[in-house]
Subunit: 223 residues, 2 copies
């Protein structure tokens, strides 16, 4: 059975691969599982048909027979549990790989998303520079801690896992902020993720959707 | 083997059960697994000995033989996968329970934590009221969506699961804000969680630690 995922008809990141369908596409490419994509406009995401799949009206979702899932982390874990390639067989190493999945989404991502949102929506606020500095400080702390744990290792815990996959997608959102470059080990870690053939296939697939949306016309997307 | 978890020697929430060790204690009480607790001061959490267990210098951690885990969500999932009571046997229902674990921590918790942090640290900032309103609006949106999905059901997806456990602990942080009371179904859902005997045992255990810390002297904790 070919699973169906949902993605933005026109991603607000202009095809930079920061939308959360990228995580699921990458996981599926890593394990060699074909998939189909149903594209949604922003209005469609808040309609009853989609809310029946995803109560928070977001992408991605996962449909596979009777099973419907939302939350990119849960979908990546579901893929990892059903195909070899994203979780080690050793029980302790497997628990640690899942731990890194939670760490990516629960501890590293929040300040990074805050930073994106602050830059997008608070530019006209009083003390904007001070607010950005505060969120950057929280982000830098996480990066410093993560870099210390990574040390000279290539990946978080031995072989590439769903933990690395989610961590790299979370860190990618910092591209262009200069923060990755302050932590050369993390910068190289992210680069190792991007160089994986499965990453490239997933990236190209989501980028093609964005290019198609431009050719299809409509108003230009917000930057 | 009795697992060892870490917790605050003196919780900044003054024993209200909002620290993340509560989630792990509750999960262990639900499945009837005894555990030991090692208490840490704030300085100890940032020392090399603890950073070797938890790279981000937080609580809780999990030590069980050679296995060391951090991230409360990952620890609760580990407990749920090794003991009956927190995940259904049916594969699809099991995937959905894990999905709700990720949803609690990845989608519902972030605006709630933002609201706590805004109230704690930005009270003296210009436009404080406006900032609180903005974060409350994001929180209300999540509560409205969650309430719509919950409908008249007692729990998120059939039997009580690790998804309910994490969701209730996330929502508990809203006590005293008035936001829970705006959503009677969610308010009742949280109350159902709090009424579980395992919740009460976990709550009492963490509360006793706080009371002990008061008797042990030292400066009074911040409110």
């Amino acid at each position: 059975m070919i699973p169906v995922i949902t993605a933005f008809e026109r991603s607000p990141d202009r095809g930079r691969g920061l939308a959360r369908d990228m995580r699921v596409r990458w996981a599926l490419e890593e394990v060699g599982q074909p998939y189909e994509v149903r594209l949604l406009s922003f209005p469609e995401m808040k309609q009853p048909a989609h809310l029946a799949l995803h109560p928070f009206g977001q992408i991605p979702t996962w449909e596979e027979g009777d099973l419907v899932l939302f939350e990119s982390g849960a979908i990546v874990l579901h893929v990892a549990q059903h195909h070899p390639g994203l979780l080690p067989d050793d029980p302790d190493a497997r628990a640690r790989a899942i731990m890194w999945m939670f760490a990516a989404l629960g501890t590293v991502e929040p300040p990074i998303v805050d930073l994106s949102m602050t830059r997008l929506f608070e530019r006209k606020e009083p003390r904007y520079a001070r607010r950005v500095h505060a969120v950057e400080t929280r982000t830098r702390q996480r990066l410093t801690e993560l870099s210390a744990r990574l040390g000279s290792a290539a990946l978080l815990d031995g072989a590439f896992s769903g933990g690395d996959l989610l961590m790299v997608t979370v860190l990618l959102r910092l591209e262009g902020t200069g923060l990755l470059e302050e932590h050369p080990r993390i910068d190289a870690y992210v680069a190792r993720g991007r160089e994986r053939p499965a990453f490239r296939r997933a990236f190209d697939a989501q980028h093609a959707v964005f290019l198609d949306s431009l050719h299809a016309g409509g108003p230009p997307p917000a930057d």
